[in-house]
């Protein structure tokens, strides 16, 4: 037990990090897999979520309310962006989409600077969860981190149910497989895409909101997450939500154990993992949803 405990605790850390990555990566992979849009601005949605949490929590004095309002705002943001910009780029070359969404990163960063400033901000852990439970004689575990993991698991199950068990999910899967045929069956694919896009935005923003008390809130925080989420999506298989989950957990564990047991390679381990996966499974671990 004495030797096992540290390893189990690191597994817990890795899973927690991985689950959070999954929230961001699932939106990224859905938007690409179903709509065929490469969305570089996805990290910005994560950042915007974190800033929503910070500013709304100081307004309402309560993180939970902030998150609920933040979700509504990010869905609206997603719908507006899809309507005004993304819609015009379906079926175009990926290069146009990359250009558009890279431009969005610059715009969002500038807006963030104008609205919220350039300081690093901290979000308070909700009082209810602001304590630690002792795991060993030296280590305690902050309860809020367990809450994040639980929320992520709930959302992952919800997504699974949505895609596999509901009519909307059936339409999404159909649209992903064959857009023309789905339209021919009388399904409004445009509407469907708007829903998928704002779902993706909301997932990324929610991840930012949940993470804000433990990661703090700072400029450019989206770019780190974006890069790592592309790694997750590539490992998991582009367009596969299941792949995003497995990829995210793998990356979370690899990064955690890499930092602890291979400190010289900290930061490189996840890319080595990606390279290894690409050598043996160039399409990633799973097929499209």
């Amino acid at each position: 037990m004495d030797h096992l405990a540290p390893i189990l605790i690191q597994v817990l850390n890795g899973l927690q990090y991985g689950l959070l990555l999954f929230l961001v990566a699932s939106g990224l992979t859905l938007i690409f897999g179903i709509m065929g849009v490469i969305n570089l601005a996805h990290g910005s949605f994560y950042m915007i979520g974190a800033y929503f949490a910070w500013s709304l929590a100081s307004y309402f004095g309560n993180l939970l309310t902030a998150i609920l309002v933040g979700i509504v705002l990010s869905v609206l943001l997603g719908l507006a962006l899809e309507r005004l910009l993304i819609r015009h780029f379906y079926g175009r070359d990926h290069l146009y989409q990359v250009l558009l969404t890279y431009g969005l990163i610059l715009i969002f960063e500038q807006l963030r600077s104008l609205i919220w400033g350039d300081e690093v901000q901290g979000v308070k852990v909700p009082e209810l969860f602001n304590y630690s439970i002792p795991l060993t004689d030296t280590l305690s575990y902050p309860v809020y981190r367990l809450v994040i993991s639980a929320a992520c698991v709930a959302i992952a199950l919800g997504l699974h149910w949505l895609i596999r068990r509901t009519r909307l999910g059936m339409m999404i899967r159909a649209g992903a497989h064959n857009r023309e045929m789905t339209e021919a069956m009388g399904i409004n694919v445009r509407m469907l895409f708007a829903v998928v896009f704002s779902l993706g935005v909301a997932l990324a923003a929610l991840a930012g909101m949940l993470a804000s008390p433990v990661s703090s809130v700072y400029p450019n925080m989206g770019s780190q997450v974006l890069i790592i989420c592309f790694v997750v999506v590539v490992i998991g298989g582009i367009g596969s939500v299941k792949g995003a989950l497995v990829g995210a957990l793998l990356i979370g564990l690899a990064d955690t154990f890499g930092q602890v047991y291979l400190p010289q390679l900290a930061g490189m381990v996840v890319y080595l993992l990606m390279a290894a996966v690409l050598v043996f499974r160039p399409e990633g671990l799973f097929r499209k949803t």
Binding site: P6, Q110, L114, D118, T138, R145, P219, N220, Q259
Partner: protein, 402 residues
């Protein structure tokens, strides 16, 4: 990844900026006689972080610099100053581009910057190539006053080796035999690690594990779990800015605070105590500055700073202030004749700065020879405990100055 211009910059688009800088370059030659006719101002280029984890450090340095200049009626050796500012984003990849904006586009006489060591290395490279005078108000990269030293580069802060070197001795005296080291993996973190290890292991202690994470990540949880599993006598670390505040609060949340004492170079607890006061109580650090130093000079400085900027000064403000003093004193001794570079540099080399941190002199590598203090967090202050090392000069590491 993304581009965040300094909000104080004029809002020019990239394309317009490129065409403008071309125009400025072409126009500079033509307008030179006209500029001469005016009482020439000294152009000071401030390249500091305005965004990200080091943003508050950039502000403190700018404040300190302006305060020193303000005490001299806003002039350097009788000449007015024109300021140029660039946000370096603490991004080494953009260091050449940002430095050149000041050196090539704005044609500054003096470069002041910066906080991040990687960025400062990039600045030093360009300063060596162009001969522009570079004053470094924080970044401690050992190489800058080591193999990369140059007659036109001066540092007013510390080398990474310096402030943490006495910590090993201090910790050994307090009976700690095994220590886990943790820091960001970048120049400042790695060099602090080497210096600490050198100092601590000389006393017979042992660094049982060195942990690191990429700058500026703040996901400390796995590393804290590892510390708890190793159970060393104590932990020593290097963090700064917002990341330091995060580390202190995570260390406490993981339940380690009362079981394994935390030490660090003083950057850990400077400028962050308002945010993490409760979690930081009792943390001991070494640095070239402390709160409540028993000196009148320091008290006057602190009162003046609070009055002018409505915030408490910290070590970064002192370094910015000393940078201003260095430039001002040198300019006074050459009577404002900036063109006489050799005399200016000679004046800087022989300078004695009556700093709030205590008087210091310039070593032959152009780095301060200064006292290092042991401090302890009490309330919202890094209380002065004792002088950990008197007049510490960095060891010469292959600096050959022409």
């Amino acid at each position: 990844m993304s581009h965040t211009p300094n909000p104080t910059d004029s809002p020019v688009s990239r394309r317009r900026f490129i065409s403008l800088s071309g125009g400025v370059a072409a126009g500079a030659a033509l307008s030179a006689p006209f500029v001469q006719a005016q009482p020439a101002k000294i152009k000071v280029g401030m390249m500091l972080p305005a965004t990200g984890t080091f943003a508050s450090l950039g502000t403190a340095i700018t404040n300190g610099f302006r305060m020193a200049v303000g005490e001299r009626g806003g002039k350097l050796g009788g000449r007015e100053i024109e300021y140029f500012a660039v946000d370096d984003e603490s991004n080494p990849a953009k260091a050449p581009e940002n430095t050149n904006r000041l050196v090539q586009r704005d044609k500054v006489d003096v470069l002041v910057g910066t906080v991040h060591s990687g960025v400062a290395l990039g600045m030093a490279k360009i300063a060596r190539e162009t001969g522009t005078l570079l004053l470094i108000p924080n970044a401690g990269a050992d190489d800058i006053t080591g193999p990369m030293c140059s007659s036109n580069i001066f540092r007013t802060s510390f080398s990474n080796w310096q402030p943490i070197h006495p910590l090993g001795k201090v910790m050994a005296e307090r009976g700690h035999k095994t220590v886990v080291w943790i820091s960001w993996k970048y120049a400042a973190g790695d060099e602090s690690a080497r210096s600490f290890k050198e100092g601590f292991e000389k006393t017979g202690g042992k660094v049982v594990k060195e942990l690191g994470l990429p700058f500026p990540n703040v996901e400390f949880q796995p590393l804290l779990a590892e510390i708890a599993a190793i159970k060393p006598d104590a932990v020593a670390c290097f963090f700064a800015g917002a990341g330091a505040a995060k580390f202190i609060s995570d260390y406490a949340a993981a339940g380690l605070k009362d079981k394994i004492p935390l030490y660090g170079s003083g950057f850990l607890t400077d400028g962050v105590l308002q945010a993490v006061q409760a979690q930081a109580q009792g943390v001991m650090t070494t640095l070239h500055y402390a709160d409540s130093l028993p000196s009148k000079r320091d008290q006057e400085f602190r009162l003046g700073y609070v009055k002018q900027f409505k915030m408490q000064p910290d070590v970064y403000a002192v370094q910015g202030y000393d940078t201003g003093l260095l430039l001002a004193q040198a300019m006074e001794s050459v009577k404002g004749d900036f063109g006489n570079k050799a005399a200016l540099i000679k004046a800087m080399e022989g300078v004695k700065i009556d700093s709030p941190r205590g008087a210091w002199t310039m070593s032959k590598e152009h780095n301060p020879t200064q006292d290092i203090y042991l401090r302890k967090v009490e309330g919202e202050q890094n209380k002065f405990v004792s002088v950990a090392w008197k007049a510490l000069s960095e060891p010469s590491r292959g600096c050959r100055m022409g």
